[in-house]
Amino acid sequence: MMQYGFSFDISRCTGCMACVIACQDQNDSEGDNPPSFRYVIKYEKVQGTNPLIYFFSISCQHCGDAPCIMVCPVRAIKKRDEDGVVVIDRDLCIGCHSCEMACPFGAPKFQGDGRMAKCDLCYTRIEKNMKPACVRICPTGALGAGPIEELSKKKAEKASFVFLTSLVGDYHR
């Protein structure tokens, strides 16, 4: 099975938030609609006397073994065979937030109607040879997307597969 995913190069992320709003613009996240499917967190640490500030852009990671799928009591979350993208059938969602608890990335977002919505990796755009909105906008090229075998070949972008630990790890540059 093909598995698409995001890559993320922490050395290049500046915390500019363009990906956050690009996601909202693509998905019409306004008013009662859910907030951005992507968000940016900041991590600061002092290394010796050197204060370092890092940013991390996070959305659904389209996990190989997505924990949200199993906990969904109505089986509304599925992984697409074509590209491994984790998608939700909003018609089935009952708004129980179990996925919110299961996801370590904070990816499930809730809409005004109480139902979950999430990043779908812009798979329709990918089908049309367009990049996901957040990747397309990224001013420094910190975000990428594609088949994960290809992504994992790029050394700098390996950071995408590590979550919180990479933030407390020793990345410089």
């Binding site: 500046t14 363009a18 956050v20 613009d25 204060p51 890092y54 397309r136 990224c138 420094t140 540059r173």
Partner: protein, 717 residues
């Protein structure tokens, strides 16, 4: 259509895929939220903008966009957009207006302005433009045709002081040659936030192994990526530059050939920088002597090296012009002037774009000689500014409105005026109340527009046409991509119409926007009609690249014909000819008695990624990223004051206080606090005195003064 097909088209529409079946079309537009002029692909369905994306073929942004640009949908369709001309019926500032027709509005304006001109001379009417750039040549032409010398702009507090400083030393301006450099001395610029789509140049430089020295108190992403971060105390740039020069001269790392053949006043300069030993400089700047030496060596030994400054950070100090001169003096000192990979002199054309084209922009703008008009506002106070900068100095405007001296200012025709731009912004606000007649043209009913007698609705860049020519000579003429919101009109069309109603008899202007641009670009034989044939833009070919080392043929446009370490013009005007260092007017060293009560250094206005001055506050997407006014304070200073993250604090200077939230962060060093400007209800410019200014340019010392922060004990101030 079958059910399956229907669902598949719905999916394509939801994903906003352009094409016949979805009815979604991509149109080419320009973003005018900041001044970078990024190309945007506007996704339009049924006449409405549904999404924006960077234009791949536009070399300005190469498909990238920033957080602000991608918010264009909410910006353009904001419910606070003004939809028709408005006549104020309530008190000034009350926001009570009634809609009137364009005819009535323009006739009222023309009548009143001509009355005032009749009564007290054309100079009593001021023509001002805020952040919008594209209308500037037109507005200046209108002002001069009207007879007023008082065309002024937001550039009275941003950018032009760097031009002034560079002209004093080199007779010209220059740009960093990033593509060819091996070392970047980045002086207090945060390209990742101020012009994100262009910042890829820095990422690429890093990947090429270019050395980076970052100077500035703030800990930006570039600081983290840099080889050396010289984290100076705000306001001490000049001292650091002199200290670097000291090391370069002492260690014989300077370009003797360039210095002896092409500079003036070197001995004077050398004698002056002798004082700025690494130890002395370290004491002033807060750095360690070794850091200064290491920075100086890296910059001077790596060839070629370029200096990057920002539009205003180096000059937003009470010693701003001299600080900036001290920094840029290093370019000549190390022989990096107008050389590949150094700082390249590229003539600017059409609102400060370094394209290298010959234009008649000045001829177009300046329809009367200064001698034919009254003295400009600020001319007496800032003679050197007035000599180099062909605008009035707006920082003097509120004083002249209030005093009526040397002559009364009675009316203001403004485009995007924001009183919060001024130091002591409440003083500017008061002076607005004093005006007899105020017209403001804006997209939104701003706090400033509420003081206007008549407000005219301007359209956004996506509702009108605009020309952009980038430094890489890519030219695009945009057509409106969506219909104007409400009854709004293009700024230039408003100016042209106003010119007619004022009976100014300007045949060229009356011919319209395109004809005026054809006139401006005539010397380079660029015609709008040709550019129009390429809706996606084109590279203007057939023009020679701007060469390097032009000074070898032409010399420098300074009184001595050389680069001036000691400026003849400054000496004549009674200023220090050398790029001397002076402490900020308020600093722990210059005013220890004030520092005893206000021990923290306040620096303001550093870019946040989601805001562009005040214009993105009202946009829900960008506002959502930082909803509250927040002051950055080092965790150590926070701890000393018992302040926790997000707590309400009072930020105060001797002039006043504002209530904000605390943001504890290593972004600022201990002892320094950073506050973004222009927040309604928490405007930091109110804390700065209206005359806290640089004596040469008049620029406010926004980036270095004194303050204190304490925990709020409730609703007090």
């Amino acid at each position: 259509m079958s059910k399956g097909e229907d669902a598949s088209i719905r999916r394509l529409i939801k994903a906003k895929i352009p094409g016949k079946e979805t009815g979604i079309e991509i149109k080419k537009g320009l973003c005018s939220i900041c001044n970078a002029q990024c190309g945007i692909d506007v996704y339009v369905k049924d006449g409405r903008l549904i999404k924006t994306e960077g234009t791949l073929e536009n070399p300005v942004n190469k498909g990238r966009l920033c957080v602000k640009g991608v918010s264009n949908k909410q910006y353009v369709y904001h419910r606070e957009r003004i939809r028709s001309p408005l006549l104020r019926v309530g008190e000034k500032g009350s926001d009570r207006f009634v809609p009137i027709s364009w005819d009535e509005a323009l006739d009222r304006i023309a009548l009143r302005l001509n009355e005032i001109k009749e009564e007290s001379g054309p100079e009593s009417v001021v023509f001002f433009t805020g952040f919008p750039k594209w209308l500037r040549p037109f507005l200046k032409r209108l002002a001069h045709n009207f007879g007023s010398p008082n065309y002024m702009s937001e550039s009275s507090t941003c950018y032009l002081a760097t031009v002034l400083a560079n002209r004093l030393t080199y007779g010209c301006s220059f740009v960093p040659d990033l593509k060819n450099t091996k070392c970047i001395l980045n002086w207090s610029s945060n390209p990742y936030y101020s012009s994100a789509p262009q910042a890829i140049n820095f990422v690429e430089a890093l990947e090429r192994g270019v050395k980076i020295i970052d100077v500035g108190p703030l800990n930006t992403t570039l600081s983290r990526q840099a080889d050396i971060h010289l984290r100076i105390r705000p306001g001490t740039s000049g001292a650091l530059a002199l200290g670097i020069a000291h090391v370069i001269i002492e260690e014989d790392l300077y370009d003797r050939e360039f210095v002896s053949n092409w500079t003036y006043g070197f001995e004077e300069y050398r004698a002056y920088v002798k004082e700025y030993t690494p130890e002395v400089t370290a004491k002033i700047t807060g750095l360690a002597p070794q850091e200064i030496i290491a920075g100086a060596r890296l910059y001077a030994r790596t060839k070629p090296a370029t200096i990057v400054t920002s539009a205003s950070v180096t000059v937003h100090h009470t010693n701003g012009v001299q600080n900036h001169r001290a920094i840029t003096a290093l370019i000549g000192l190390t022989g990096n002037f107008d050389r590949p990979g150094g700082n390249h002199v590229v003539p600017t054309s059409y609102y400060h774009r370094a394209t290298g084209f010959d234009t008649r922009e000045e001829e177009f703008e300046q329809t009367k000689n200064w001698e034919e008009m009254a003295k400009r506002i600020g001319e007496e106070e800032y003679p050197v500014w007035s000599r180099f900068i062909h605008e009035a100095q707006a920082v003097s405007l509120p004083f002249q409105i209030m005093s009526g001296k040397p002559y009364p200012v009675r009316a203001l025709v403004g485009f995007g005026v924001n009183y919060r731009m001024w130091p002591g912004s409440d003083f500017m606000k008061k002076s607005l109340e004093r005006l007899e007649f105020f017209v403001d043209v804006d997209l939104f009913m701003t706090d400033t527009a509420k003081f206007a007698d008549i407000v005219l609705p301007a359209s956004s860049s996506l509702e009108r046409s605009e020309l952009s020519i980038s430094p890489s000579r890519y030219a695009i003429w945009t057509e409106p991509v969506i219909p104007p919101v409400g009854d709004s009109r293009s700024d230039v069309d408003i100016i042209i119409e106003l010119s007619k109603r004022l009976n100014l008899n300007d045949p060229l202007l009356s011919k319209g926007h395109e004809a005026c641009l054809d006139f401006i670009f005539e010397p380079s034989n660029i015609r709008i009609e040709e550019i129009k044939k390429h809706p996606g833009g084109l590279i203007l070919g057939g023009f020679p690249r701007t060469p390097y080392e032009k000074y070898k043929k032409t010399g420098f446009s300074t009184p001595t014909g050389k680069m001036e370490f000691a400026s003849v013009i400054l000496r004549e005007a009674g200023y220090d000819p050398l790029p001397v260092y002076r402490e900020p007017k308020y600093s722990p060293i210059s005013t220890p008695h004030i520092a005893a009560m206000y021990p923290l250094i306040l620096t303001t206005g550093a870019r946040l990624p989601m805001y562009m001055h005040s214009r993105m506050y009202r946009v829900p997407w960008t506002r959502g990223l930082r909803p509250d006014p927040m002051v950055d304070i080092n965790p150590k200073d926070g701890e000393e004051r018992g302040i926790k993250q997000n707590e309400r604090v009072v930020l105060s200077t001797p002039r006043g206080s504002i209530m904000v939230k605390a943001n504890l962060t290593e972004y600022v060093p201990p002892g320094v606090v950073n506050m973004y400007h222009g927040f309604p209800g928490a405007d930091v410019n109110e804390l700065i005195e209206p005359d806290y200014r640089d004596p040469i340019s008049g620029y406010p010392g926004y980036k270095s003064l004194l303050c204190d922060i304490r925990k709020s004990n409730g609703g007090d101030l």
